[in-house]
């Protein structure tokens, strides 16, 4: 368990980064979190889900662009198709908010 690895006494909050292509439903995750964490060191902690959009690289604009339409993997500015995904599959624990012993 990460929290004990870092010497946490209590975990208040877990921040998760979830990309639009990660295949994770935020509502389902929030719904099961309390049940899944009961009787663990995470019991009573809050799950914060940070949803991030898909970002693709447009070879014509030579820039990363945010995708707003998941049914259309094209540059939103110049409409060039792109398969170069730079962000969107993320499923990452960003940080945890913990209590720890004061260092002496």
């Amino acid at each position: 368990m990460v929290s004990s690895d870092y010497g946490a006494l209590k975990v208040h909050e877990v921040r998760l980064r979830v990309g639009a292509l990660a295949g994770v439903a935020k509502d389902a995750l929030l719904f099961c979190y309390d049940i899944a964490t009961a009787d663990t060191t995470l019991a009573g902690s809050k799950l914060v889900v940070n949803e991030v959009p898909v970002i693709l690289y447009c070879s014509v604009c030579r820039e990363e662009k945010e995708l707003t339409d998941l049914q259309r993997f094209r540059c939103p500015v110049c409409d060039t198709p792109s398969g170069d995904i730079r962000q969107g599959r993320d499923l990452e624990i960003e940080s945890i908010l913990i209590d720890e012993y004061a260092s002496t």
């Binding site: 990460v2 870092y6 946490a8 006494l9 208040h12 998760l16 292509l21 990660a22 295949g23 994770v24 998941l70 049914q71 259309r72 993997f73 094209r74 198709p81 792109s82 398969g83 995904i85 599959r89 993320d90 499923l91 990452e92 624990i93 960003e94 940080s95 945890i96 908010l97 913990i98 209590d99 720890e100 012993y101 004061a102 260092s103």
Partner: protein, 228 residues
């Protein structure tokens, strides 16, 4: 006592990704091309694979398969009739295959004796997209009976794939299958993806598919010899 924010920056699926990377190295070292076949239940993954294995065996190619299902070994028995080495992975309650299951079920197989490995995933177009199995190519399949807009409904899966295969082409006319729309929808979510159209039952398109597999092997061998 202090309260503080601790940066973690660790992927939830880190462990799977690490195992998959190890598998990919093993496949590459042994010269095995691994494929991960994904689709809805009922698209015809097993029928397609059965004909693929049979044709490849007849052509003298060294091929094996792992097949995932929640329960039963029906699919493994069907595929084994091709004569190729086949193992069933029963996931029980799990809706997708994971890299650890692949590693476990490869035990005892000499990868050096193989040129191709097909991994048939559990029928599901959502969760398997997040689990890397160490494959070289992911094949997303879609049958003409499912509707041309499937890629738009499951962009995460189709976008994660390298190859698309449209199955049951013998039923295309009966289903009023709009071929152009299906191709456009695949192109929309995964620009430039190669598309095969097949009927495993009638054999349509299977020769082109097998030819492509043979060429893939040849170009992989060329690359390997250049690297040496």
């Amino acid at each position: 006592m202090n309260t503080r924010v601790l940066e973690i920056r660790k992927g939830v699926l880190n462990k799977n990704d690490e195992l998959a990377a190890t598998l990919r190295e093993r496949f590459t070292a042994a010269g095995v091309i691994a494929f991960n076949l994904v689709s809805s239940p009922g698209t015809g993954k097993t029928a397609f694979l059965e004909k693929t294995l049979r044709a490849m065996r007849e052509a003298g190619l060294r091929v094996a398969a792992l097949v995932g299902d929640l329960e039963t070994d029906n699919d493994a028995r069907r595929l084994a009739s091709s004569g190729a080495p086949v193992r069933q992975i029963n996931t029980h309650r799990c809706c997708h295959l994971e890299a650890a299951m692949i590693a476990e079920h490869l035990e005892g197989w000499d990868l050096n004796e193989l040129d191709y490995l097909f991994i048939e995933n559990v029928g599901n177009l959502v969760c398997p997209s997040s689990y890397d199995l160490g494959e070289k190519l992911r094949i997303a399949m879609l049958s003409v009976t499912e509707g041309e807009d499937k890629p738009l409904k499951y962009p995460g899966m189709f976008n994660s794939a390298d190859i698309a295969v449209i199955t049951k082409m013998d039923l295309a006319e009966a289903c009023d299958f709009d071929r152009a729309a299906a191709h456009a929808n695949i192109e929309a979510v995964r620009p430039g993806m190669r598309i095969f159209e097949v009927s495993a039952k009638r054999g349509m398109g299977m020769a082109q598919w097998i030819d492509w597999l043979v060429q893939l092997r040849a170009s992989a061998d060329n690359q390997r010899s250049h690297l040496r």
